[in-house]
Symmetry: D2
């Protein structure tokens, strides 16, 4: 029977992680459990760096970006010895189950710990929205809104100068942030890793739309599709009259107070994580699939892979022209 | 065959209405239609106040709150003569179908126009999220985030003064805004029209949570549940030591640039409205049900009524204590 | 010689108080002093509720609204016995000087403590900007920007509905917030305590401006000038066609991350407070006068009273019509 | 006697330009003048691209970033022929004086036009705050607050990962933005063009502060001091353990709704520009010096050059360590 759970955040931080830490801690205590917070991700497990969490210690954090428990990428945890140390520390501290908040890599780490015998649950937390087992990851909605606000500013300048503004956003392997923010800001073009488009095609599309009546345009580029810098160079060379400019949003997108949606989903994911453990479940990732909160065992997670919506992709370009 | 559509906004304005006007106009033109924008809702129909919309005239509005076409509540349209005049104007101007963006009352108006023979489609636009036929209305996500930002400010003051902050939000008939913002901000209590709770119970809950360790609390009150003023008066009388304060957010909640979600949904609703008309559909409300964009005929809309999530309601109080 | 200083926040909280706490603590330590933080204002002095502050304990707070040290209005401190207790606690704890961050009332409290023999310095912190000895108080710039953002949202709704939006802002005795936010948002009228204007004159001005071409207007009302509710009632009765609405911004205006100006001024005020004490100064209020940071002894403070700018008041109405 | 004035915006856009256009137009009309808005800066003068401005046409723009009149850098205006054409167009259109809103380069252009015989006035509008004749330029306060908000987000990530976050901000020739935002966000170090500091010194300072207790730091770099990229490369090479990251804020800093201060100053500058012309003044730049709104003839402007505050520069490092 589970009496004490551990919780850690791992990989890149994401808005909503603190809300999830609060949610897991308070809901677990509401159900009679105690909670140990592990610092700096898997590194903290290996080096025994932790602190007891209480209702109070997670008060006043729901709206804060980043993660109270800090996070890191642990080299040592990639080794068998590292994981063994982590496992032993969990045993020694009578931690019956571990909740990991993080992205794809963090989930793989959790799966390896599970293999050693400690039940784990992963709560998806990454702004990139690119995890199997869920259509939604904590931080994604905030990141998209941060991009939107930034583009709303950049548009002021672009339209004052009749210029093409190229904006590079995060998304190494997936175009979720680029597509949703592009749709929301009314971009003329969105470049995503999932779709191959040549720079000439980009330029032709802009030329065409400027022929009609447009004088300024927004191009959203996911870092995984092509470098924003390459787009800028190409446009400068072939269409200097369009007065192209580039902004790389970078780390800006990872911080900030969580949006309402991220803070709410953090609570629901936390509840599911604790309930699932208490009902005997383990070694699974929490997710939202077709608007339902579900738990999917790591072993089945590859059945639930989601990708960008084709219709939305086409719609951006239909509306943006 | 449909060649020209009219579009108007009606009832209270909501963020995302401009994005929907842009979406309908551009997508309709993309499909070869022309678009007439009617001013000031049904009043504009009656008095023939309109303007042709082009790709260009809806440029640079996607991120603006309010509605370019303006909106009003029309007394005259409530009469048969008023509606007849509206119908005749539409006929005279060769408008083959009308897209109405608005809330429940606006949809009822559209239904009555449909009865006269003009095909209509309603796109749900109201911050209250309280329409049959959809789980999501344009403006809702923005309003909830606006409330969240406001409460994040109010919390600074509440926790500096160890006080109970009562915040009254919109929601005459439904607790959606109150519940989602309450969940997102980590409120101790949420009062919604759907749940009867006495002021004594509210006070007892706060006393209990302050006994444990809390020194400041947030109480979110939907205007339709009880007046924020009554909660304040009760608390001042019975628990002056809690130093209660009240903020009524009011019209603040209705404006602002649409959130990413509202701007995106506006595009998807717009696309569905036009596609549905072009495929021969009519007299229906567009909606999002179980994460799918659907069109539901007015006659069947009462089958799809949604209400606040019971689990979320309980969870707020489990986490907030 | 001064070796240890105490610091407290008193009265209503204001954005920038945390930045000032950080500034005083770090600058004092940089100058070789130690710092004791007193909790809950003068109450904390009386009851000996305090904590040592370090460079680290004031890290990560510069951008947070409210006050880490909490604040309260102390009844006990209004009595001679209360102040005597406070004085004795300071003596017993070897605190050589006290820095008080707060408004006018807090400064008067500091002056009374000074009379007992403990050197004090007041740093002006109140959103109302209504203190003698300074043209600028911490929190003012943030509050004005918060009002501006709120009015920018409310304007969306007002212009969509062709309505007069009445917005009540803080300012019991002074119209600073109302005037500066009114000027910044392009209000048609600003009502401030310093100027007597009848409701009929307000209505006449609006009628006149709507006759020309305006269809929506913003009226900013300082709470100390007239109740927003009275303006609403009058307009509803005499000009229902203007569709008047009221929003009372309330406590919203007191919270939030400090603006750049407030955070910067907090640092400069803090530096001056410590330097002044170290140079033998005492019993004075720090202030910004004609863009210079100065210290004015309490006894001379009434020579430096500032009021709203007459030219700005007239300009709002010249530009707003 | 002046009856008709022209107005244009030139150079990089800045928040507050629209507020200044509104201010000049409305105040000029209030004084009985008519106003012609010239599009795309000096290019519009040369090609006769203009539109009459009315009270109404400048309604609803006070809070918008960018410039309604658009702006451009004109190659043709750098030639004598270009300026002659511009002058002739002004003559032909009976424009008695020209108000230019822009930065240093735009002021030089205005001076050259003045030499041809047309009275001009420059209103300082550039986010960089680097113009002679004024301590404040429109857009500066908004830009600093935009940087502050961005850094507040970046800090979440930096402190979650115990990392050094390098943030590059605008400022080719002056460190105003870097210094004020650095002071406001509590940066550990600020690099400005006015001060030579080696990368080794930067690194040593960070090492020192991390030795004490700090685990994350913010470094603000003005683009004119050193490339953010160089700082990143150096830190990665010599202190990889500090986990350095870089964000280049870029065009983001130029857009957005003006802050309260920028919108207010725009009105005051506009009033002064019109009043100065009406009182017979000409060929001058409006400015704020020691908190007073003044007009300084172009010929004397170099007497009023302002630079970053040495005390503030030192204070950042005293408080940041």
């Amino acid at each position: 029977m589970i009496k004490k759970i551990g919780i850690l955040t791992s990989g890149g931080d994401a808005p909503g992680m603190n809300a999830a830490i609060r949610g897991v801690t308070r809901y677990a205590m509401y159900k009679g459990l105690t909670v140990e917070g592990i610092l700096r991700g898997y590194d903290g497990l290996i080096h025994g760096d932790s602190t007891a969490l209480t209702r109070r210690s997670v008060g006043g954090i729901i709206h804060r970006g980043g993660t109270l428990l800090k996070t890191a990428r642990s080299e040592e945890f990639r080794t068998e010895e590292g994981r063994q140390k982590a496992y032993e520390w969990l045993q020694k501290n009578h931690i019956d189950a571990l909740v990991v908040i993080g992205g794809d890599g963090s989930m793989k780490g959790a799966e390896k710990l599970s293999a050693l015998g400690i039940p784990t649950i992963t709560i998806p937390g990454t702004i990139d929205n690119d995890m199997p087992g869920t259509e939604y990851t904590l931080g994604y909605d905030t990141a998209v809104n941060t991009v939107l606000e930034a583009v709303n500013r950049i548009r002021d300048t672009a339209s004052s100068h009749d210029r093409v503004a190229i904006v590079e956003v995060m998304g190494r392997h997936a175009g979720f942030i680029a597509l949703e923010s592009g749709m929301a800001c009314g971009a003329e073009i969105v470049l995503v890793p999932e779709k191959k488009v040549t720079l000439k095609e980009v330029a032709d599309h802009l030329v065409e739309s400027h022929k009609q009546w447009k004088m300024s345009s927004i191009v959203i580029v996911a870092e995984g599709a092509v470098s924003g810098c390459d787009v800028l160079t190409y446009m400068k060379q072939h269409h200097p009259e369009m007065n192209p400019s580039l902004t790389v949003l970078g780390y800006l997108q990872r911080g900030g107070a969580p949006s309402a949606r991220d803070a709410k989903m953090a609570g629901l994911f936390a509840q599911k994580a604790v309930d699932y453990l208490l009902s005997g479940g383990k070694d699974a990732v929490i997710g939202s699939i077709h608007d339902k909160i579900v738990a999917t065992p790591y072993t089945e997670v590859d059945k639930y892979k989601f990708t960008i919506d084709e219709n939305e992709y086409d719609l951006v370009h239909a509306l943006g022209t």
